[in-house]
């Protein structure tokens, strides 16, 4: 869900942290590289310590030198070692580790510089008061190791603070960047789901950057889509309304004509087509009303099981003429929060559709049950026929108004391609959905799923 957020955040943060570390290293981790001035200064510092140690040695013997170096180690956290010209240890601590550096220093006049455990080590050649040459090597508080310091808690504090501050800044930056995107995504989803009045949040609209532009463009697009669809729906609704009056007159006029002229096959045909037109106009108006639904349908708690049973009984009545039957099974005490007229019409359309397509002599199975998914109780109505089914690629389309799968067959069976569109809209109005699939052994299976209410009826 927040993966874009996480990605941007982690990348920003990693970049900041790595940049910081790289900076420190590039400044200090170049013994033979760029910073000669630093090297000279390091040599100078080492020489100061070295001369002091030699003075101690020449004044008070090796013990004095050793004491001085020990003090240095304790007070300045700097280990150092004094050697004679041949590289033999005179005084100091951990002198063996300096031997290579000292050898290097013996061969040139410039200070030898090396790195160990992240600390800079410097070896220098020095002369005492008496003119005796010595070699002195020490580690100095410089280099990345020095940045870490010797104090573990101080180190933790400094680096932890840097880490957290950079994290916080990255977090804020990421939120600033991704929030409008996430909101936009939310809005576009809802728009796609049919909530045409959905717009991205006003807060993001005020931004004066490209994201603000995007949000404004999105909202403008939403306005345009809403206007277009609303006017289209209004047109359908208006046209259907207007068609009704002439249709009503035609029906009466036809009846009068039959009275006057007697029955005629042409009249029969006209009657049949008027009926079809009537049916179509009626359903169109239902679809238009569900789509525009300015006034939300009244929802109340109702016994969905009883409603399905009634529809199934009615359908059984109708199916007898078509030489098939309807079988009801499953849980029959499921309550839902809904509008009974709309739900009845939705269930009716699905069941009627199944009766229309099931093969003669077969059964339409109507099953109602509760299903819990992700902690939400759903009531699931499954209606399955034993007909030819629908091609997989067409399954999603059968809920669209006037969608025809096989022109000839559908017209022959008298469908007007609106029944399932109504069911789909009713399901969505109730916060549910309709799905169609082909049963494994043939036949179409339609699943009508809406949220279920509490099990125990409140009385």
């Amino acid at each position: 869900m927040r993966s874009l957020f996480l990605k941007i955040f982690l990348w920003f943060w990693a970049t900041v942290v790595l940049t910081g570390i790289t900076l420190i290293f590039s400044f200090l981790l170049q013994p033979g590289g760029a910073s000669f001035r630093i090297h000279a200064a390091l040599g100078e510092t080492a020489s100061v310590y070295g001369r002091a140690a030699i003075a101690e040695l020449e004044g008070g013997g090796p013990e004095a030198a050793a004491t001085y170096l020990e003090d240095l180690r304790k007070n300045a956290h700097t280990s150092a070692c004094l050697f004679n010209r041949e590289g033999t240890e005179i005084a100091g601590h951990d002198c063996a580790s300096f031997s290579r550096l000292v050898n290097a220093a013996a061969e040139k006049s410039a200070p030898a510089i090396a790195m160990r455990h992240g600390l800079v080590r410097v070896g220098v050649r020095l002369q005492g008061e008496s003119g005796t040459p010595y070699l002195f090597a020490t580690e100095l508080p410089a280099g990345p190791g020095a940045a870490f310091g010797n104090n573990f808690f101080g180190l933790l504090l400094h680096w932890g603070a840097a880490f957290l501050v950079s994290g916080l800044i990255c977090y804020l930056l990421t939120r600033y960047l991704t929030e409008p995107i996430l909101r936009l995504r939310d809005a576009s989803r809802q728009l796609a789901a049919g909530n045409l009045s959905m717009r991205a949040a006003a807060g993001a609209e005020k931004r004066r950057d490209e994201l603000g532009d995007l949000v404004r463009d999105f909202n403008a697009m939403g306005d345009r889509i809403e206007a277009l669809i609303t006017s289209q729906r209004q047109l359908i609704s208006d046209v259907s309304h207007e068609l009704r009056s002439p249709l009503a007159r035609l029906t009466v006029a036809l009846d009068l004509a039959r009275e006057h002229k007697g029955d005629d096959p042409a009249f029969e045909q006209m009657q049949k087509d008027f009926d079809r037109l009537n049916e179509m106009v009626g359903r169109l108006l239902t679809v238009a009303r569900l789509d525009t639904s300015a006034t939300p349908a009244e929802m109340k708690r109702l016994d969905f099981g009883a409603l399905v049973a009634e529809v199934a009984a009615d359908a059984e009545f109708e199916s007898r003429e078509l030489n098939c039957n309807v079988q009801l099974s499953g849980d029959n005490h499921i309550y839902v929060q809904g509008n009974s007229d709309l739900l009845r019409s939705a269930v009716e359309n699905i069941v009627r559709n199944a009766i229309r397509y099931t093969a003669p002599g077969t059964t339409v199975d109507v099953n109602l049950r509760r299903r819990n998914s992700a902690g939400l109780a759903r009531s699931v109505l499954t209606v399955r026929d034993h007909g030819p089914g629908v091609a997989e690629s067409e399954l999603a389309n059968i809920f669209q108004p006037f969608y025809r799968i096989e022109d000839a067959r559908d017209r022959q069976s008298g469908g007007v391609g609106l029944g399932l569109a109504i069911s789909d809209r009713v399901a969505r109005l109730h916060g549910g959905m309709v799905r169609a699939s082909n049963a494994t052994d043939g036949g179409l299976q339609v699943e009508f799923e809406i949220p279920a209410a509490e099990v125990t009826p409140e009385t």
Binding site: L247, T251, A253, N278, A309, D314, D341
Partner: protein, 231 residues
């Protein structure tokens, strides 16, 4: 010729219907708006009112509500297809039956005849039916619970009569539609259920408990209350 009233704003349709009805022995008076329709419906000159629910000025449902407050004249409502809510509301307010528009005039005539047949029963020899605390006078078409008169529409009265004649037994929806509405039960036809629900509300009145039980998959059952309560 029996006089009928149609309240419908489509003038041409009214003309056609009047012509059609004449050949079936009805004289049809047409009124084209709700306020005038209410006025004419209350005149007492007509046997039945055909009421379109979509009317200018005063809406059909309002006309029906006002009409029912003063008169028990049979009303058949015309509803637009797809406007199921209006249809149910109309029946709940007290319409006898409905027909979706556009309709076949033969169907309309058949329904009108069924309503008229029931509303003006030929039998003047009224009998008194009693079941528990409910008494019916089928001649005067009046009903009492204990000694309180219950105000029933003509359909509701016929329904109650039917229930009382079969007290304690389950009556199917097919039979009820046939005997009360005078027609066959259609598929997905819920008119009788709305009437039962209206009747139930009126019978339940003050005392709790349902007298008419729904028997799922079968129909309805009238339960007799043996002991009379003094309320």
């Amino acid at each position: 010729m029996e006089r009928l009233l149609i309240v419908e704003d489509d003038v041409e349709l009214c003309g056609l219907l009047a012509e059609r009805f004449r050949s079936d022995g009805f004289s049809l008076e047409a009124v084209h708006d709700g306020a005038r329709g209410l006025e004419r419906a209350l005149s007492g000159e007509h046997k039945l009112v055909i009421l379109d629910l979509m009317l200018p000025r005063l809406g059909g449902l309002d006309v029906l509500r006002k009409l029912r407050a003063q008169s028990g004249i049979p009303v058949l409502i015309l509803t637009a297809r797809g406007e199921d809510v209006d249809r149910i509301l109309g029946l709940e307010i007290g319409a006898d039956d409905y027909l979706p528009k556009p309709f076949n005039p033969r169907e309309l005539l058949a329904r009108i005849r069924a309503i008229l047949r029931r509303a003006s029963p030929a039998r003047s020899d009224g009998e008194r039916l009693t079941a528990g605390d409910i008494t019916l006078d089928t001649g005067a078409r009046e009903a009492w619970i204990n000694s309180r008169q219950v105000n029933l529409t003509s359909v509701e009265f016929s329904l109650l009569e039917e229930f009382m004649r079969h007290a304690g037994h389950v009556v199917t929806r097919d039979d009820l539609t046939q005997s009360v509405l005078g027609r066959k039960l259609g598929a997905f036809d819920r008119v009788i259920d709305v009437h039962v629900s209206n009747l139930r509300k009126k019978l339940t009145g003050g005392s709790a408990g349902e007298r008419v039980k729904a028997v799922r998959g079968a129909g309805y059952q009238f339960v007799v209350r043996s002991e009379t309560k003094n309320t």
